[in-house]
């Protein structure tokens, strides 16, 4: 370890000592039932409330039918959720590709806009299903670290899902009746089952009678993903989400970027241990898997990690 790094580590320890008073205050607040909510969690909660703000829908088992549903939201949020105020971009993309077989300018343009401005910050900060996974991971059960030889190839699966189920099949494979089902939504999407299916079934008895094998399959997929979320951090985002796959293409070029200052790094690896997506923060901070949740930034005592909308030269 270089002398400069040792100095910085010592400075970090000194900061710890200086921060003991604040730490005691925090402990006292926690013992009184207060707990500081992170910036990420506040943004996630606000986003979830904003995209699902139609409270009447939850009470009556209906969905919102206002004009805002013509706008695609940036996150995976089923438009059949009783509270949804906007359209799901993945559902809309499948519909646009399958409906009239034309190039989906509007939906694709919306997705590109979200991607180039925020990249996968959408996944880390805005997505309600990401919030669900984050909360489930808080449950105190043993945590699994997926071995690299399984983890790396498995991450490729989300691109296969995007290309095959979201783009290729809706564009080219219609059923005998000429209807093109949204394949991803129909067979996989756990956000649709959780936000749309289960909530609609609870509120709407007529729909309950129609539930059959497909619904059972979807519930099974959802339960497996939610159960896995207790042991593995964000398994759906890592391996299955086609929306995350789409945004990951823009991660390196998006206006919102993470910055890693190598000269300030003390090589403590706290950032990599804290990363929910197991990103090699010190090597590839703006890689395709970074969801810009900011956990690495929070734990870095050396201040080597920052994020903003303007790339520093």
């Amino acid at each position: 370890m270089s002398g400069m790094h040792r100095d910085r580590m010592n400075a970090g320890r000194q900061n710890d000592t200086d921060g003991q008073g604040a730490g005691r205050k925090d402990a006292s607040r926690q013992s009184r039932g207060f707990r500081r909510i992170s910036f990420q969690r506040v943004v996630q909660l606000l986003s979830a409330a904003l995209v699902n703000g139609y409270v009447v829908g939850f009470q009556k088992g209906t969905i919102f039918t206002g004009k805002s549903k013509a706008i695609c939201v940036p996150v995976l949020n089923c438009y059949s959720c009783p509270g949804a105020l906007g359209a799901c971009p993945i559902g809309s993309l499948q519909e646009a590709l399958g409906g009239r077989h034309h190039f989906p300018f509007y939906v694709l343009g919306s997705l590109m806009l979200f991607g180039i401005v925020l990249g996968r910050a959408v996944c880390g900060l805005l997505c309600p299903f990401g919030l669900v996974q984050d909360l489930l991971y808080k449950i105190p059960v043993p945590k699994w670290k997926v071995p690299g030889r399984i983890d790396k190839p498995a991450r490729f699966l989300k691109y296969v899902i995007l290309v095959v189920l979201v783009i290729f099949l809706p564009a080219f494979l219609a059923t005998k009746t000429g209807i093109v089902p949204p394949y991803f939504c129909k067979y996989i999407c756990p956000a649709g089952t959780l936000g749309g299916g289960i909530l609609q079934m609870i509120a709407n008895p007529a729909l309950r009678k129609l539930a059959g094998a497909l619904f059972s399959w979807k519930v099974l997929v959802m339960v497996v993903i939610l159960a896995a979320s207790m042991f593995i951090s964000r398994p759906f985002c890592r391996y299955l989400c086609p929306l995350g796959a789409f945004y990951s293409v823009f991660n390196r070029f998006s206006f919102y970027q993470m910055h890693f200052e190598e000269s300030a790094c003390v090589a403590c690896k706290q950032c990599e241990n804290a990363c929910p997506m197991a990103v090699e923060v010190t090597k590839d901070i703006n890689g395709q898997e970074c969801i810009r949740c900011g956990k690495c930034k929070t734990v870095c005592r050396a201040g080597a990690i920052t994020s903003d909308f303007v790339r520093k030269s």
Binding site: A87, G91, F105, Y106, Q200, L207, G212, S313
Partner: protein, 62 residues
């Protein structure tokens, strides 16, 4: 590292940042054009039509 080497690496970095900025602005411009074309072709109304009805496939019934 000598000053000239540092200067060269700095110039390379600046060029890279310049290229990245061009990609960024290009994609941003393309996305806005796509949205405008989509709205002119009334694709947003197709999205609306789909989104205001309960999608039976999405909730696992259809």
């Amino acid at each position: 590292m000598s000053e000239s080497e540092m200067g060269k690496s700095g110039m390379k970095k600046d060029k890279l940042v310049g290229k990245e900025n061009m990609v960024r602005i290009g994609v941003l411009f393309t996305s806005i054009v796509f949205i405008a074309i989509g709205i002119m072709r009334q694709e947003h109304l197709e999205v609306l039509q789909k989104a205001v009805r309960i999608c039976l496939e999405c909730i696992g019934i259809g």
